[in-house]
Amino acid sequence: MTERIPGAFHPFVIPFLAGMLFVLGYCLVGMVRVTLELPREDRRRFLLSLITPRTLWKNIKDIFLNCLIHVNLWKRNKNLGFMHSSIAFGWFMIILLGHIEVALFLPHRIRFFYYPIFFNFFVAEADATIKGSVMMFLMDFFLLIILIGIAMAMVKRIRSRWFGMRRTTRLSLLDSIGLYSLWAIFPLRLLAESFTAHISGGSFLTIPMNWLFHQFLTTEYHILPTWWAYSIALGVFMCVLPFTRYMHIPAEMLLIPMRNAGIRVRHPRKGFAKLEYYSCPGCGVCIDACPMSVKKENLKDCTVYLNRQLRRGNERRIAEISDKCLLCGKCTAVCQVGVEGPELRVAQRERRRYAIDPDYSTVRPEVKGGSKVLYFAGCMTHLTPSVKSALSSVLETAGVEFSTMDPDGGICCGRPLMMAGRKEAADALIEKNRELILGSGCDTLLLSCPICYRVFRDSYDLPGIRVVHHSVYMDELLREGRLKINRGYECYVYHDPCELGRGCGIYDQPRHLLASAGELVEAKKNRAESICCGGSLGSLSLSFEKRRDITLASLRNLTDTEADAVVTACPLCKSTYGRYSDDTPVMDIAEVMQHKILLYENHE
């Protein structure tokens, strides 16, 4: 092992150096800015989490698993996972091994941080020792892994279906420059190292290539141009990186610790929100996931395009995309980075100012009750009276004494206003309802609507009162033996309502109920990937005609199972499907239970 170039410098490293310094500086400034933009208490919490050993360890683990190994992508599709982790992890290993090489053989050169990158140019006979040849082998090995990944990435551009993606994003101009320079880096590195292999040494990849080239190239003049090209490719990539989707690489490394510290979107454009939309890798997994994508005209309204427009500051499109979304949360469920599309959109909606603020001071409902269980039906259940009567009858059978909070009209739970970004107006409702609930003397608040359930659970301060959804409550009654049913031969398919499943994480209790009532079959897309029924209150601008195709596609996912009935646990899903389901009945889970209880009682 000897140093070939005295002074350890050559002008070709300048493009790389410039790019590297630029991107490091940019990211450092960005990091400080984002942290400073956080509200004071959030910033404190974040900085504290960085010195807490438990979160620190979690941060390191999450960054390794998400940024390098891409575990979430592996779960989604093996090819997609391999492609990403081969490039990310392979590149990381090449950089790491490069530094180890320098540290092992030429420790005094480690302070030139271009040195590990262009190691083979600067040294001669690096593979002369066992240690050296092992290192060379590893370098070639990881370069090969990356090259396979790059080849797969090229195939993906043409055949995205092989990677589990039907549609992928359309690249912007800068994204294309970033993409092509990234693709160029590794083949150029292979060329450069191969041309130099007879001097620096190499391994199974570079030495045969070197031999091959020497069969028809006899001069040494091509060595330097390839190293220049390699350095320029690196420099170009790093110079455009902050303005392309590849910004997600550094951004995600900050996003993960902030999320682990419990920071949430508080401002539409600053702090955590900015970090989220810069962390979007633009992969387009959310395009296929978005329920609106059944209509081609809505393809550019999914979260990946919201993030792009937020970065560009295109206000017209930001407002359009934010208002259209159903807020079903499926993009977040499938996103490998975990960009919270719905939260970002609601934050944008909050910017809108309304001329008239609602005044609820004249609303004075009272709760007649006194029972320990207080049932709040909410407006959607009032519009589907069969759900209300079924649940009442189930509760009576189980001997649950309950009073109804809104038998003859009541106050809205506040969730629709929250979704519309009118947090202050929603807070007024929440405060009114809170007084009523606390004054009623109940210890359990029962909801039959997941939209209400979510807001009562997350946004109400109700000390000592358990907030429970009727599917969970009925499941408990069944497990306690207070409800008696016989398992029948009916075949049910369960639709996970967005607000109950992805919103509140309740997937198993309704399934247990249905599996006790009959045969439960699963739709192709279920649980966290269940498709919004299209009736969501989340969208401010989708018309009923436009929602029709969403509902039909979502219903098809359920009826393809050929179940006897589609069962859901949300009155809004039920009425939305009911409108279009001509052959398969659509039922609320309470109706199934009521039916089963009647059968049991008649049988006894």
Binding site: H382, P385, F544, D582
Partner: protein, 356 residues
């Protein structure tokens, strides 16, 4: 060319009608019956088929018809007596149709295959299934019935939903499942306004002490004597008309239903307790028409009804030669309109067959 056309279509003098030419009429409702009778008198052999086990379609189950409160049964009896020479096949469906030369080979559910020179579709409509508007509580509350249920009660008088309780107040909800984008039917059902006025008067005659309320979006009283009927409902029967849609219906403890609506003329919400609520379910396209339409390669319009060649001059003509329409298969219509269309379709078929 002109001469040839003239010879083909406007040949002078009476032209002998070939007696062996068969025409199939699909649907034995009023349009089908009327068209069949006209075709018979023009000298054709007519086969009339219907899915149902009775002839007369929707009108057969109706009690009285607006605006003169004519007996529905007398209309049907009259029509039935005029189709004496036709072959009437009830409980019969078309299994498949194939175009054969200038006509059609039709396989019927009875197993027979028949050959027809022309087909007239008089397949009619479906009533909107009111349980789909669950907020109105049809199928959930016993106090909620539809316009069709009420006619049946007028006819038979044995509906426990009406008989088992004291009727002190009755509400009519207009436009249930029609002019309703949410329900997927943006079209106006055309006959419900006047039917509601008629039924409100009839209810008032049955229960003179009851208060009767109609909740409407618009009143579309376009036909002969409709307006008189409406004025009479207010002046002579004291029926209340409230402009505004019903938002939801719930049950009160005393067995009545509470109806919440908006009174858009007064600009305030209203809440009324009623002992009976009648939903004016609208006319919608038949959901079982699509397979037949595909078999015949006729197209469907965006509203689900069959697509006419032209909505002004060719409403009874399909896009395909030899296939004609009559009645509500192309959209909501009143009885006189359907009958007039049936006659016009018969003439259309006659001219078509003469020109072959």
């Amino acid at each position: 060319m002109a001469k040839k056309l003239r010879k083909k279509y406007i040949s002078s003098g009476p032209m002998p009608v070939p007696k062996w030419e068969n025409v199939l009429v699909v649907g034995a409702g009023i349009a089908g019956l009327e068209a069949a009778s006209q075709l018979l008198s023009l000298g054709y052999k007519v086969t009339l088929i219907d899915k149902a086990s009775y002839a007369g379609g929707h009108v057969a189950s109706w009690h009285k018809l607006f605006p003169d409160r004519t007996d529905a049964s007398s209309v049907i009896t009259g029509l039935l007596s005029s189709i004496a020479g036709a072959t009437l096949l009830l409980s019969t469906e078309i299994l498949s149709v194939h175009r054969l030369g200038e006509g059609f080979a039709v396989v019927l559910s009875g197993g027979e295959t028949l050959y027809f020179k022309a087909i007239l579709l008089a397949t009619g409509f479906s009533l909107f299934p009111a349980e789909k508007k669950e907020e109105y509580g049809y199928g959930v509350y016993n106090q909620v019935i539809t316009n069709s249920d009420l006619e049946q009660w007028f006819n038979e008088g044995n509906d426990p939903r009406i008989n088992d309780r004291k009727i002190s107040s009755v509400g009519f909800v207009h436009c249930v499942g029609s002019r309703d984008i949410k329900a997927g039917n943006p079209q106006c059902s055309k006959v419900c306004c006047i039917t509601a006025v008629k039924q409100a008067i009839e209810i008032k005659q049955h229960f003179p002490d009851a208060e009767v309320w109609c909740f409407y979006m618009d009143l579309r009283l376009f036909g002969k004597k409709y307006e008189d009927f409406y004025i009479s409902a207010q002046k002579d029967y004291g029926i209340h008309f409230i402009r505004g849609r019903v938002s939801e219906v719930s049950e009160a403890i005393d067995g009545e239903v509470i109806v919440k609506a908006e009174d858009t003329l007064n600009g305030r919400p209203v809440k009324i307790k009623l002992s009976l609520l009648v939903l004016m379910a609208g006319i919608i396209s038949r959901n079982d028409i699509q397979p037949l339409a595909e078999d015949l390669s006729v197209m469907m319009d965006s509203d689900g009804f069959l697509l006419s060649r032209d909505n002004i001059t060719g409403i009874t003509r399909s896009q395909r030669p030899g296939i004609f329409y009559a009645g509500t298969c192309t959209g909501p219509k009143t009885i006189p309109e359907s009958l007039a269309e049936a006659r016009s379709a018969a003439i259309d078929i006659h001219n078509y067959l003469r020109g072959l």
